[in-house]
């Protein structure tokens, strides 16, 4: 299942590339808007990188189930002798591999661009490693809820972004705490907790939404 998703993604590399390019562009805009003062950029760097990554990830959520829904593949997937929840997990994993992972790799480079202090890199990568899968999971719930709706992309953002505020707070908090000389451990543990919670609840919620969409 994951292999199928990855193959489909690689046949249309534009989608994943657009996310990455949006992330880079959105981040690059900040120095232009705020000015090149190194101290200010260093202060806002963690928040800017994380918010830009979050918004970039939103771009890709709409297509997560929509293509399969429109061409009828989703019905066939639902009729496989495996639970819909497992299919959703596979889709979320594939989404993370094609979106979250590239963002994770690009984030430190954006940190350099924004003059992120040395102490911030390790917690930034750790926080994003925990936050991006959570985004894929919660995003999958949003993507399955808006199937069949017009302007689904906007609706997903409205549904999903408020739910991701805790993820953003603790991710930025981890980097800030490390830069201030405190440990980032508590924030990272909380992020891990959010990820585990999402791992348990999201497949169930998404499965129910997908069933509803196909009725």
């Amino acid at each position: 299942m994951v292999r199928r998703e990855l193959r489909l993604a690689f046949r249309q590399p534009g989608d994943a590339a657009a996310v990455l390019i949006f992330f880079v562009l959105a981040t690059v805009l900040f120095p232009f808007g705020i000015g090149p003062e190194a101290n200010i950029l260093a202060r806002i760097a963690p928040g800017v990188v994380l918010v830009a990554a979050l918004l970039a990830a939103m771009l890709s959520l709409e297509r997560m189930f929509a293509a399969d829904f429109e061409d009828g593949s989703l019905e066939l997937l639902a009729l496989l002798p495996i639970p819909l929840e497992a299919i959703m997990l596979a889709k979320a994993l594939a989404h993370w591999l094609t979106t979250g992972l590239p963002l994770l790799v690009a984030a430190p480079l954006m940190g350099v661009l924004l003059n992120l202090p040395d102490a911030g890199y390790a917690p930034l990568i750790a926080a994003m490693a925990l936050a991006t899968p959570t985004v894929s999971l919660i995003g999958a719930v949003g993507a399955s809820l808006v199937l069949g709706a017009r302007r689904g992309g906007v609706l997903i953002c409205l549904l999903v972004l408020p739910l991701l505020i805790p993820v953003l707070i603790f991710s930025a908090g981890a980097v800030d705490a490390a830069m201030a000389g405190f440990g980032a451990k508590q924030h990272l543990l909380l992020l891990g907790g959010l990820l585990l919670g999402a791992l348990v609840l999201c497949p169930w919620a998404s499965g129910a939404a997908l069933r509803q969409a196909m009725e």
């Binding site: 046949r11 061409d71 009729l79 002798p81």
Partner: protein, 223 residues
Amino acid sequence: MAEFCYCGDMNQFSATGLTCMRGGRVVFSKLDFEVESGRALLLVGPNGSGKSSLLRLMCGLARPVAGAIAWNGEAIDDNPEQHAARLNFVGHLDAVKPSLTVAENLADWVDLRGDGDVARGLARFALRPLAEMPARLLSAGQRRRLALARIAASPAALWLLDEPTVVLDRDSVAALEAAIDDHLDRGGIVVLSSNVDVGLRDPIVLRIDDFTSVDDALLDGPA
């Protein structure tokens, strides 16, 4: 090419007292059917009479408001995964991925089902010459043949086909009829909805409009 076989066990697919509602309207009510191994059930009725809705109930994609569908006496709701494993469904949409080739589309399906034979599916609907062609270049009829090739590629005792002949040319309809005959010979069950003549051997005909309208006024009125 290995032949799939469901011989030996007689299966029975049946429903009693089915009522289906869509958007607050009763599509049909108190519908019964029963079909056994080696037989085909033909759903007929005008547009909107509920042929597709009934097929979706039979798959388990939708739930009836009342009544139950059973396989060998066991309700399909009791074990939806087991029911899914024994059926092949072809709906109105072809579920073809334009970025993959014909063979890849079919191989994906066989992979996901965990069982089946790509070459067999390709051969059955004369898709071999098109195997390496990207599916986005296929015509509507060729895409439909690819969707039908799935049912020939992967073994399942129950075939649920929703207007499968709509865009097919004469040769492809003949290929479908041959595939259905083979399936019935092997003890399979076919449920097919169609508005045009499909050469089925001795089908049980179910007229869905016999189960509509009567209760409509009753159920619609007070609500």
